[in-house]
Subunit: 489 residues, 2 copies
Amino acid sequence: MRTLPPCTIILFGATGDLARKKLFPALHKLHGELHEKTRIIAVGRRDYDDAGFRSEFVTACDLDKKGVSSFCKRILYHRLDFDEKEGYVALQRKLNNLDPEIRDRRIVYLATAPEAFTFIAEQLTKNGIAVKNPKHGWHRIVIEKPFGHDLTSARNLNKRLSKRFHERQMYRIDHYLGKEFVQNIMALRFTNPLFNRLWSHEHIDNVQIVANETATVGTRGGYYDTSGALRDMLQSHLLQMLAITTMEEPRSLSPDEIRGKKLAILKAISRDAKTKKSIVLGQYRAGVINGIMVPDYTAEPGVAKRSRTETFAAMRLTIKNKRWSGVPFYLRTGKALMHHYAEVVVTFKPQECKLFCDIARRPQENILAVRIQPDQGVELRFNLKDPENEHVTLPLSMEYSRAAEFGENSKEAYERLLGDVMVGDQTLFTRWDEVEESWKIVDALRVSNTKIHLYDAGTHGPDAARKLLTDEKREWFGNRSIQCLHCTK
Amino acid sequence: MRTLPPCTIILFGATGDLARKKLFPALHKLHGELHEKTRIIAVGRRDYDDAGFRSEFVTACDLDKKGVSSFCKRILYHRLDFDEKEGYVALQRKLNNLDPEIRDRRIVYLATAPEAFTFIAEQLTKNGIAVKNPKHGWHRIVIEKPFGHDLTSARNLNKRLSKRFHERQMYRIDHYLGKEFVQNIMALRFTNPLFNRLWSHEHIDNVQIVANETATVGTRGGYYDTSGALRDMLQSHLLQMLAITTMEEPRSLSPDEIRGKKLAILKAISRDAKTKKSIVLGQYRAGVINGIMVPDYTAEPGVAKRSRTETFAAMRLTIKNKRWSGVPFYLRTGKALMHHYAEVVVTFKPQECKLFCDIARRPQENILAVRIQPDQGVELRFNLKDPENEHVTLPLSMEYSRAAEFGENSKEAYERLLGDVMVGDQTLFTRWDEVEESWKIVDALRVSNTKIHLYDAGTHGPDAARKLLTDEKREWFGNRSIQCLHCTK
């Protein structure tokens, strides 16, 4: 177990949704590992004192009950309107009064609306709260996505931030990278010759990368309607998963070595006319998900009545390099779908069918599926003899399930990533050039006149997304009826 | 489901151990599939009439209770001293009086002591019970192992039998070939490119073939003491499993195509001085197996007091062809051991360790284990990130278990093989040239002055067998403590 150094965590947006749902629960889980002197300065607009914030807000977060009161002692509240300069002066005064061991090691976590990022950053440096070259200790900035809205805005944001901070101080969160089984893709590929030796167009037929949600936009309609699936999911999570699945083997596990290999993939991703034509966008309309009726997307609070924002996207990408020549990568993500899951599915090419081939039934392709959420594990689809019929085979599965092996206790993504910031490990944070390249891809693929297919909530999404694969005689792995791992979730 | 034709099954040795433990239970399980007219003529020395044999012997076999009385109606008893000629005349008379639909389709199953084979065969042809060229229908002979005692005796036996029957009439039983997961080795290899593409010395480090028993010689001491592990297990089961695991891909599933490919492997198996030196023989002495004390082998009934018969054998073979150049094949079998199981274990070569390599811990080899008994299934050992330590991996398993998928109802080996005889499928029966080649190997490896290592009953066998692998920096897969699938069996 690594040792987390004493530090101050200054959390902007401490009374927001993310703080309540993810950050305080993650910090609470980390509590036992945190240095005893580490303090959390919760910064928010609402009127609390320390005791009030602890008793009213923190205890109302989704925490395990164990050790909450001891965890709360780490937390101080600082009221501040993000756009009022006086609050920053007071914040810096408060920070300077902290124990010398934590005073100069500062993590500023920006979990606010992205519009506030640049103003806050300006105030941080002006008041010495976090600066480019601190005299003592270190200052680190954690930036929640979205990092920009498109290439231009992302560049503007980065220009402003990079004036005030070094790249090595900036921790751009993509919480998918913190998920154990996204990280495991690297271990799976590079420590298992059985897979590694076959990891190329010679042996792989296609790769599917899926992040499907059953959730609707819910209370996030205001933000989501200005974003959509391509900006919200493709630019970050899906492209990162694709890059990790396909990158060349890094020479070491150093952050910049890995991020360099990922960048090379992002640069090689197709964005030509053919790719643009393969994009299927969708928007959900009313339907039933897990027995609950949900409204049309356009009837959700905060969403424009005639919105054309996509809540679903599927596409066929290619990677223009030697290893992946000719291999299609099918990506899919959406809201209000039938099943909630994320996975990477690698289908191997079949060999010429010589034995156990019947007109009616032939051996199936070997398939390796990495399950990222809610299940965490690996499934391998393979063939054995049908016990009822000597001359044909049945497709069967071997599975490894993390929960079955280790219980449900694997580290949550935010818990993992917060620890990484404390020890200064940038591996699982996206570097600027990766973000920039991802926006280039999204901007290239966001064609304004792309048709928006309506789909019923609670389905697999628009039929056009299914056709994208069936036209090429393939199938979405997660839609197959042969197994139904996701059904009960 | 295939249709089994109406026929007569003439079972010599019907009151013996094999009939009671295996053949009647298998025929009973097949009962529902057997043609309604099919009859079983139970031939034995003991004095029964039909009713007595059914009520005293058949119902005392290890049968499911369901449908026993209806099954019994198929069975007729015929008393016969194998060495008295008159009995055969009466048997032929009885057969000729059977329903014309079954009268001329005859399976003669020789489940007697092997010494009786040639005399019985002579009487069969002399009396027209089973002949080389029957005028109507077909006559088939099923011959239990051992087929000979060494190359010379096997050749003699075969010479006598082949004078009386065509090779295509002879069904030499190796019941291991009837085991679902021995057959599955072919499907696993040839319908899964993930394995098939890596199935050679380029990617495989070593192969282990194991058939360990917890049973002692029990009541079979008299026979066993003249045989031993090499003749009893290596000549048949182990070499057949090795051949199926390593043979070239057949062009079709036709019996002679497959048996031809197996023969090519048997011919290529090393029997040089180096191979002979690698043989470890053992004999059990008193010990505790599953809580029960067992005596020295030499104290078992029927065993010579100063017997040098091996109850354990382990060895390192090589195959002199291009595919298997340099790959060691470790075979092991024995009685009175700690665990009862048979498996084929393929260990893949590791790649150069570049990532996730620690001085203390490196990724483990990928291992594919085919479990033949008592579990039936496939296990794949692979590596994932250690959830406790970012920089190293843990060896983990994916498993497919036949029982978990289909219940415990897969066909027993004898059930399967008896059906094959009825439809005339020789695939899973050993052809004479395979038997001959196997005896050549056993004869070459049986060096009279090989040391006999004593080992305690209830252990993994002699330490020299462990050393055989550890000297080459390898390990018996089944001895590893990391998993203990076999422990509870």
